[in-house]
């Protein structure tokens, strides 16, 4: 196997060449035949009914989100997308933040019986099939201050090449810059017992955040079976949360060099969706930075939909997923042995009304978290979302969730899309 530095050089060259190609292609005849501005403005409020554990923590957080998206396209379909994101939060200064979610050029074409696509710039990538967590998904950093469910991501600078044909889809990623995870500040809720330092971030790589990370993904479908295989070599997106050398100071974020292999698969038969995601990760430190521990983890489960229930157009879906991490008590996340059970009731009406009730049950640590979500479109431009997360009980040994006991909340979101 060629050395990683040799590989990195190669990918960097390929990235530069594709960047040159893309910019030449897009710039040469900048005759854009289609332009569009779309986006969303949201007003959001979270109420925390229980008193805060720490002085200075807010009992409610109200804020505003502005997320426009500009898109231009030329006659051949080559395009540029730019989508900045701004949030103002009245309670936590760290949650008030801006990000460039997308800023990329896209070109694509055909070569014989295969198709190719190149995206260069800041983009977002999603891998995987599961609902309770996104285990194999590793390209983008999580924008954790947005939501504890880790679904919102920061923009990632990259060159992304896709090549697809009868034999499947092969994707190569060169990731040029590392984004540190965002964490709530001292005044924010859902921060746990310790505030995590967001100013002094350390890296294992001597190149720091400029380490060139590589990723490759292959996907193929065999009738009802979809399979994805992925590999990642570079700076971990998940931080190692380490005690500070200075007593009494905040915990620090440290980013290790890791190698991760992932597999994800979904089988779609009738109203069944059967899902699996599994990873093997090397070079990552376990809980509180004790030591490097290679490990495996998986999430397995599925979803079944009952259509047209109770003689109505509504669907009722039942979801169950089991998350397992072989590090057990040394796991760096809350999914070491957890069940996720949920029901989703979708009315299939004009307003796309839906309700989801879910529960995360920690099999080992006696922790139970309930989530409730309600979505409804109000007009062709306005929509609302109500959600509640309740930390029903947190086990004595569930160190990662200590300090969240009183952080149950109800959130209301009103969005105007344009």
């Amino acid at each position: 196997m060629p050395s990683p530095s040799f590989l990195r050089g190669g990918v960097l060259c390929a990235a530069c060449v594709s960047l040159a190609l893309v910019s030449a292609e897009v710039r040469a005849d900048t005759e854009f035949v289609y332009e569009e501005v779309s986006g969303r403005i949201s007003l959001e409020s979270r109420q925390f009914p229980e008193s805060a554990v720490f002085p200075g923590q807010a009992s409610q957080a109200t804020g505003l989100v502005f997320h426009p998206k500009l898109y231009v396209e030329d006659a051949e379909g080559r395009s540029i997308t730019v989508a900045p994101f701004f949030r103002y939060d009245g309670a936590d200064t760290r949650r008030t933040h801006a990000d460039l979610r997308e800023a990329f050029a896209l070109v694509f074409g055909e070569a014989g019986n295969s198709e190719w696509e190149i995206r260069v710039g800041i983009d977002q990538v999603f891998w995987g099939v599961a609902e309770s967590r996104h285990l194999v998904d590793i390209v983008n950093q999580v924008d954790l201050v947005e939501h504890p469910n880790e679904e919102t991501k920061l923009g990632q600078p990259m060159a992304h090449l896709t090549w697809s044909a009868e034999w499947g889809v092969l994707e190569l990623f060169g990731l040029t810059y590392h984004r540190a995870r965002t964490f709530p500040g001292p005044a924010g809720r859902m921060r746990g017992l310790f505030v995590i330092d967001d100013e002094h971030v350390s890296y294992e790589s001597s190149a720091g955040e400029w380490n060139l990370d590589l990723a490759v993904r292959y996907t193929q479908s065999f009738g009802p079976v979809d399979i994805g295989l992925s590999a990642f070599d570079g700076t971990s997106r998940e931080p190692s949360i380490c005690p500070s050398p200075v007593p009494g100071a905040q915990l620090t974020q440290h980013y290790e060099q890791i190698r991760q292999f992932g597999i994800d698969s979904q089988i779609t038969i009738d109203a069944w969706l059967l899902k699996l995601e599994a990873i093997r990760r090397k070079g990552f430190r376990n809980l509180f930075c004790q030591q490097e521990e290679d490990y495996g983890a998986f999430v397995v489960g599925g979803e079944y939909a009952f259509y047209s229930v109770w003689d109505s157009p509504a669907d009722l879906s039942v979801l169950a997923e089991w998350n397992y991490d072989e590090r057990g008590q040394n796991a760096t996340n809350v999914f070491q042995n957890d069940l996720f059970l949920a029901v989703r009731y979708a009315l299939n009406d004009v307003q796309s009304t839906d309700f989801t009730l879910g529960v995360f049950e920690d099999v080992d640590l006696d922790t139970r978290v309930l989530s409730l979500e309600f979505n409804r479109r109000l007009t062709d431009y306005w929509a609302m979302n109500v959600e509640a997360i309740a930390f029903l009980k947190i086990g004595d040994m569930d160190f990662l969730q200590h300090g969240l006991e009183n952080d149950s909340f109800v959130g209301l979101n009103l969005s105007y899309s344009f």
Binding site: S79, T81, E115, E117, T268, A271, S352, D380
Partner: protein, 233 residues
């Protein structure tokens, strides 16, 4: 069966097309909601059509895209692209009777009706407007269909469909589709301009207007993959 086969033969061979759909959903109180969808369709030899739907309206689902690989006898393959998460989701195609975007059209009404998916019975000939129509009854083969049967009016001249009555599983007259404003394209193919679906049980209706038809635009398989789905905007 003869009518269905011949109507199918006359309606196929266009290759591919793109078009826009505007739906106006009206409830029994007259309140309206609008759906704008861009559509691409590709015919495939010896298989069902490939279809891509991209939503422009309502705005909260703008950029959401829906890809269908229809099959003649096997269940269809369907994928949904969610732009907020940039996630492509393979979804079940067994919910044929579910509402399309909250409208009175079900998924099975929106996708091409393969000849193999029904059995047929000739009923009668009768006048329909200035034309003469053959009235046939077709019964869905698939268990997932929401209908026990459909009654279809084809005109004798060009075998265009002018009206369909849908009967639900209890054999109640659930919906009526009326089709109007036909135009001929490529000197051969008749495509509808307006489709009105009336639900007799709820009093709700959906008017679907087709526009901007463009034929033989050079689409191929590569425009109907999960990679191209991610490019939808």
């Amino acid at each position: 069966m003869q009518i269905a086969l011949e109507a199918h033969e006359r309606g196929t061979g266009f290759g591919d097309f793109t078009a826009r759909q505007t739906m106006v959903l009206r409830n029994r109180h007259g309140q309206e909601s609008r759906r704008d969808v861009r559509i691409k369709i590709l015919e495939v030899d010896d298989d069902g059509d490939r279809s891509m739907f991209v939503f422009d309206q309502p705005r909260d689902v703008k950029g959401t895209a829906f890809l269908v690989h229809a099959h003649r006898t096997e269940p269809d393959d369907q994928w949904l692209y969610l732009p907020a998460l940039k996630r492509v989701k393979r979804i079940s195609s067994s919910n044929r009777s579910g509402s399309f975007m909250g409208s009175e059209f079900a998924y099975e009404d929106m996708t091409a009706q393969a000849v193999e998916k029904f059995t047929y019975k000739y009923l009668r000939d009768e006048a329909c407007g200035e034309l003469t129509c053959s009235v046939t009854e077709r019964t869905p083969v698939e268990k997932g269909s929401g209908y026990s049967r459909q009654v279809v009016w084809h005109d004798r001249d060009a075998l265009r469909i002018w009206k369909v009555e849908y009967y639900d599983r209890k054999d109640e007259h659930l919906k009526t589709l009326e089709i109007a404003d036909y135009q001929q394209y490529l000197d051969q193919y008749w495509f509808a301009g307006t489709m009105t679906m009336m639900n007799h049980l709820t009093g709700k209706s959906t008017v679907l207007n087709w526009s901007d038809y463009e034929f033989q635009t050079g689409l191929d398989d590569g425009d109907f993959t999960q990679t191209s789905l991610r490019r939808a905007r």
